[in-house]
């Protein structure tokens, strides 16, 4: 009698419980590549839930991806607050000019109502349709921006840093209203059928602020988010460093942390072991020029560093693979995971 095949969801749940599944799960965090699959412009692709659903379904099969990535672009949250989004043909839509031009505007900001925003309704519809197709086979990963990181798009990085150093009263108010929006947006996506929330928090990284600033400005709000969101959370630093924060992250109770190529994956794994799982850390920018043998070497190196014992999902280190990465490279990554990711990873114990 043959054993039933392990589903992607089972594979992921096993690794998240710090045990070894049948193989290392692969999360190819693809957004814009769906437009290429459907021969659409990036703007057209993100304009309809049906397009994003079709793109995700195709890419999941093509690359044997272990998740559906229900994410369009980070600036979708700027749209929610009334800000401008700029589309381009060769990359992710980007936030336009910051809509908070004077710090005092923070006093009159109100939390957007999710159902009032067409771009957010489109994402909920995407999640709902993916959920209907999915039949519990793959985790559906939805995305929110952390309250502490969203202000970079709301008011510009420079204005935000000035706020941190000079206007603690307005900073507090902005983080409070962002927290309300973040919790509501995360829970709406979970209610629509998402399995988990990828909580993008690049500004919390030690690349961006000191651990003391993280503890002072981010942790009180991330604690609220972790407590009030009705599902598991993956904190993603979008290529930023986080090693000095590992104990804080464990205390927050996140299930997964997205880690950077800038830090040693073995060291990160040791620090995370038994506390939370790691997601990472292939270099998405360099990936553009990888040939199949480089792709294989990079996949092997990451699996050897963090795969043993479970608690690891192979992914890129930014949370969004650049549009310029060719399909052949993605196929090579996928094939390498099939080739080298099967547990037990006996070969990995012999790697230096």
């Amino acid at each position: 009698m043959s054993m039933p095949a392990t589903s992607s969801l089972q594979r992921v749940l096993t690794t998240l419980s710090h045990q070894e599944p049948d193989r290392v799960p692969l999360f190819l965090l693809l957004t814009m590549h769906g437009a290429r699959e459907l021969n659409l412009s990036i703007k057209e692709y993100f304009s309809h839930a049906e397009h994003m659903v079709a793109g995700q379904l195709r890419m999941a099969e093509k690359y044997r991806n272990d998740c559906f990535y229900a994410f369009s672009y980070a600036a979708v949250e700027v749209e929610a607050w009334g800000g401008e989004v700029i589309f381009r043909d060769d990359g992710p839509p980007n936030a336009g000019e910051p809509f908070i031009r004077k710090a005092e505007q923070i006093l009159s900001l109100e939390v957007p109502t999710i159902t009032d925003i067409p771009a957010l309704r489109r994402m909920l519809e995407t999640i709902s349709q993916l959920h209907a197709h999915n039949q519990g086979q793959r985790p559906i990963i939805a995305v929110v921006m952390a309250p502490f990181s969203l202000p970079v798009m709301q008011m510009g990085f420079e204005g935000y840093l000035d706020l941190m150093y000079e206007r603690p009263d307005l900073l507090q108010r902005l983080l409070e209203i962002n927290t309300e929006f973040c919790v509501a947006w995360a829970n709406a996506q979970l209610a629509a059928g998402a399995t988990a929330i990828c909580y993008f928090n690049p500004l919390a990284s030690t690349t961006m602020v000191t651990p003391a600033m993280f503890r002072q400005f981010d942790v009180p709000f991330s604690q609220q988010v972790c407590r009030r969101v009705n599902g598991p959370i993956a904190m993603h630093f979008a290529s930023g460093r986080c090693l000095p924060l590992m104990d804080d992250l464990a205390e927050l109770g996140v299930a997964v942390v997205g880690v950077s190529i800038d830090e040693d994956l073995r060291t990160l794994k040791r620090a995370a072991s038994g506390k939370f799982s790691l997601l990472g850390n292939l270099n998405g920018i360099a990936m553009r020029n990888w040939n199949p043998s480089q792709a294989e070497a990079e996949v092997k190196a990451a699996i050897a560093a963090a795969g043993p014992g479970g608690g690891f999902i192979l992914s890129d280190n930014h949370g969004e693979i650049p549009f310029q990465v060719p399909d052949e490279t993605l196929l090579a990554i996928s094939a390498s995971v099939q080739e080298w990711g099967g547990y037990p990873l006996q070969w990995a114990t012999q790697e230096p």
Binding site: E158, L161, I285, A286
Partner: protein, 217 residues
């Protein structure tokens, strides 16, 4: 103390710690004390620039945060504006230098580089956020010799190829220095796009500009 005399390690360390703590009052106190003794240029060359260099290296190796680099640059820029007002004839006389952000509203990188350059005594044209067409026009009009381009996203980084090609076609060959996340994550990308150099931090840009100016003179 003569103008070519180095400051004590304790003094420079005290200055560095004040910068990392974003303690404007301590920074001003130290600078005022030493500028009175040895003149503004000594303070800039022997205290401010080496401290910003150390801060840049510390960020690159993950020891400190971008917020600390930003505040250090901003404070130093303010101090240098006090020591050498922008119109001062003591400012460095140099070929035209310009800086721009390509296709993005994330201006922090440009701001930090501009601060570090100004804190090192350079005058620069700041074009703000531009697209390729506007940048080319500015470079031609201002006869720019050194062009610093800051980007956040990979597609913007790849647009530097066009900038180089279009400037070549009109017979201009400014030295192009690029910086930003895509260049940090792909060490060969700056060469691929036809730049002359890549800076990993704001103070890197100052070192590269100084070297290029030396080559140009």
């Amino acid at each position: 103390m003569s103008s070519d005399q180095s400051f004590s390690p304790q003094a420079t360390d005290e200055f560095l710690q004040a910068l990392l703590a974003s303690d404007r009052f301590a920074v001003r106190r130290i600078i005022t004390r030493f500028a009175d003794l040895s003149g503004p240029f000594s303070v800039i060359e022997q205290m401010i620039v080496p401290s910003l260099e150390e801060i840049g290296h510390a960020w690159d190796s993950g020891e400190i945060s971008l917020a600390q680099v930003y505040m250090s640059g901003r404070i130093c820029e303010e101090m240098v504006d006090t020591l050498l007002p922008p119109a001062s004839n003591q400012r460095i006389n140099q070929p035209p230098i310009a800086i721009a952000v390509l296709d993005d509203y994330h201006m922090l990188g440009k701001r930090m580089i501009a601060s570090a350059l100004r804190a090192s005594g350079y005058e620069i044209h700041d074009y703000g956020r531009v697209d390729v067409d506007r940048l080319i026009k500015h470079v031609i009009n201002d006869k720019i010799a050194i062009l610093l381009i800051s980007v956040l996203m990979l597609p913007s980084a790849l647009e530097v190829i066009q900038i180089r090609q279009r400037l070549d076609r009109v017979g201009l060959r400014p030295q192009i220095i690029v910086g930003g996340a895509p260049f940090r994550f792909d060490a060969q990308l700056w060469q691929e796009v036809g730049a002359d150099a890549m800076g990993r931090s704001a103070i890197d840009a100052v070192t590269i500009v100084a070297k290029l100016l030396e080559d140009l003179s």
